[in-house]
Amino acid sequence: MSFRTFFLSLSASFGVAWLAVVVVPYFKMRSIEPISMGDDATGTNAVFIPKRAGRIADGSKVYAENGCYLCHSQLVRPTYAGNDIFRSDLGGMVYEDQRGDSRRETNVYDYAGEKFAQIGETRLGPDLSNLGVRVVNSYAKDISPEAWLYRHLYNPRSSAAYSHSACPSFRFLFDEKKINGIASGGALELDDTSDIEIVPSADARALVSYLLSLKKDQPVPPSLNFAKPAASSTTAP
């Protein structure tokens, strides 16, 4: 076999796979067709517009820089690939009000606004796909969702329920300030009487805004929805 044939064969064996699993899918997925809402009664051609509020780009940068993806995933797998959707709060919530069952698999629009989807390496910590939903509905009982997350990031083992958490403390995302007269807005509510206050830095604010944006409870087209559309059929026109 000559030098030339050898290199052509090597390039061909690699190049076919390279085109088929990397290049073509990548460029195909740069433009995704919008999905119709389908059950629209008004007759307009409504399409699904993914919405995410919060400082997605800044926050996901802080998330990436601090290696959160090494322990936390962001993927609710379909049932053929795992039981994620059944785990309480992980795949979404079952609300008692009109919103009904918001549990569903992750779809391609859920990472809108991010450069890189943080699918995650391991689940040493819980999945964060619906962290925003969980904090608002379950964790932050007598405190704002932001304040709950700040406190958790500052010291993940602060409350008895989380005393076994292996999450590192992100104290370095907070600034210590001497209280001069009135305390700053947004400072952590810690039980100490010293004249030092703990104020979240710009990075901490971006990260918390991003974490609260992690929720999958907006209405999605039936083709993207795991739950049976029972709730909508009972409403009278």
């Binding site: 390279w18 899918p25 195909k28 990436a64 690939a81 890189f116 699918i119 689940r123 590192p168």
Partner: protein, 500 residues
């Protein structure tokens, strides 16, 4: 007649000595700086593993948080140790096999310094919070062109040497090494350009990162280690490869199957459905190229059991080939869609597999190569048999523990995740004992590699033994402690006995 033979032998030995001399500085630089980065990577690995079970350990500063030390640990293992030792071994093997002295040693050495600069900047970037958040590509984005250009400057000479070599058949080692040398820049440039320069869908970017990681393992580290093993085993035992057609079959099956692997990491993610399944299938099929090469080489060595026991080179290489078999079985075992893949997908199994590939297989073969190459280029023998033995056994204990823990611990963790009625903390408790075992295992491996690094440093400073007796692992008191006379091919012109 006999004078003709000894003349040819003389010329041969002079050529080999010339090649070794021309490559002394770059090869020793790559091996020693690689070993130093390995030690740093292992320290970071211990710190990050300890944090999994004791989160308040070294909980003082931002650069020692788990998310940064773990990323730095893996990137150093890949780019600091893995690539540098591969460079050292590739440029030496390609020169020897093409029978050409290296005429660009200064440039290679300079490019090696640039590579090290890129790695240093990358690691400091990760530790001080400028990481990209892309697994195995965490170095800040500005480093990748630096790494790619220095890579080309280091290895382009090996292509040139191959091109101008004397006519003759091409040995299987050259196939493997040239394939790795061609595929790496292709994979590296593709992943970095698509993720950093051409904006695309974020989920597909994650898919490409998963493919990149798998391509690094199967299309760079695997062929480099196999090419090296196909050189070392016949060379040290003095026997030809058992089945050359099987070797070719193994090579082409690697080339055809492995570029498809990797995207099973995204099983269930919103990317085209066929990608994760193709990835899982290709990874499972890794046993074809792996077993055909490993069995072939083990059979080649099996008729020289004494040599395997006494030669440090062969002992490490054989251990590496056993590591390859375990790695191939593991690849098939943890990637079955619908069965084990959903358990291993987000558990410690993935990390365990990476460590199996990089340490149990690749690094062991590279250690074997280092024990072979260094005495030849420094013209000194290894100082101590005991240090080599310590390096071998402590490394073996460590890696066996890590592999068992990471693979089975990962499956345990995955089973915990599947039990959706159990609280999340139950899964964390399943992982703790395995995390403890991993920390202990990394400590073993660190100790063994500190011995290794010091031994290598002494050799680099040319403080090795001036002797014609190679350092062999013989504990028989009757025999000479340093083996038989003159069985190393740089001991003088005209020696024809097999090398150790």
């Amino acid at each position: 007649m006999s004078t003709e033979i000894s003349n040819a032998n003389l010329q041969d030995a002079q050529l080999r000595a010339g090649i070794d001399r021309s490559l002394r500085h770059p090869v020793m630089f790559f091996l020693t700086s690689g070993a130093a980065w390995l030690a740093v990577s292992l320290i970071l690995g211990i710190i990050s593993s300890a944090k999994v079970h004791s989160p308040t350990f070294l909980d003082c500063c931002s650069f020692l948080t788990y998310g940064r030390t773990q990323a730095a640990h893996l990137n150093l293992l890949v780019y600091g140790w893995g690539f540098q030792v591969a460079f050292g071994v590739i440029i030496w093997l390609m020169s020897r096999l093409s029978r050409q002295t290296c005429k660009a040693a200064g440039l290679v050495l300079t490019a090696g310094h640039v590579w090290n600069l890129g790695v240093s900047l990358g690691v400091f970037g990760i530790l001080f919070g400028y990481g990209t958040g892309i697994p195995w590509m965490e170095f800040p984005a500005f480093t990748w062109p630096v790494l790619l250009l220095s890579y080309l400057a280091i290895l382009v000479w090996s292509f040139v040497q191959f091109k101008v070599r004397p006519e003759g058949s091409v040995y299987i080692s050259q196939w493997y090494l040239m394939a790795a040398m061609l595929w790496f820049p292709w994979v590296f440039a593709t992943a970095n350009i698509l993720i950093h320069i051409v904006p695309g869908n974020p989920v597909m970017a994650a898919g490409i990162a998963a493919w990149y990681k798998s391509a690094m393992v199967f299309l760079f580290f695997t062929p480099v280690a196999l090419g090296t093993a196909f050189y070392l085993v016949p060379k040290v035992t003095g026997r030809p490869v058992q089945s050359y057609s099987m070797a070719k079959m193994g090579f082409w099956s690697l080339a055809v199957i492995m570029p498809w692997a990797g995207m099973q990491k995204l099983m269930g993610a919103p990317i085209p459905y066929f990608l994760p399944y193709v990835g899982a299938a290709a990874t499972i099929l890794f046993f074809i190229p792996a077993l055909s090469a490993a069995v072939n080489l083990l059979q080649t060595a099996s008729s020289s059991k004494d040599v395997v026991m006494h030669s440090p080179t062969l002992r490490f290489t054989m251990a590496g080939l056993l590591g390859l078999i375990v790695m191939a079985l593991c690849a098939a075992f943890i990637n079955i869609p619908g069965s084990t893949l959903k358990l291993s997908q987000f558990s410690m199994s993935g990390y365990g597999f990476e460590i199996l590939a990089i340490y149990a297989f690749f690094s062991f073969v590279m250690f074997g190569a280092i024990y072979f190459i260094v005495p030849r280029i420094t013209r000194r023998e290894w100082l101590s048999r005991r240090l080599i033995k310590m390096h071998f056994f402590i490394s073996i204990y460590g890696i066996v523990l890590i592999a068992l823990v990471a693979v089975f611990g990962g499956l345990q963790q995955g089973m915990g995740q599947e039990e959706f009625n159990q609280p999340w903390i139950a899964i964390a408790f399943r992982a703790y004992p395995y995390a403890w075992a991993t920390t202990i295992a990394w400590c073993f491996i660190l100790i063994s590699n500190i011995f290794f690094f010091l031994h290598l440093l002494v050799m680099w400073l040319r403080l090795g033994r001036r002797s014609i007796h190679p350092t062999l692992l013989i504990s028989d008191h009757g025999a000479s402690p340093h083996g038989e006379d003159g069985d190393i091919d740089n001991c003088g012109p005209g020696t024809v006995t097999p090398a150790h």
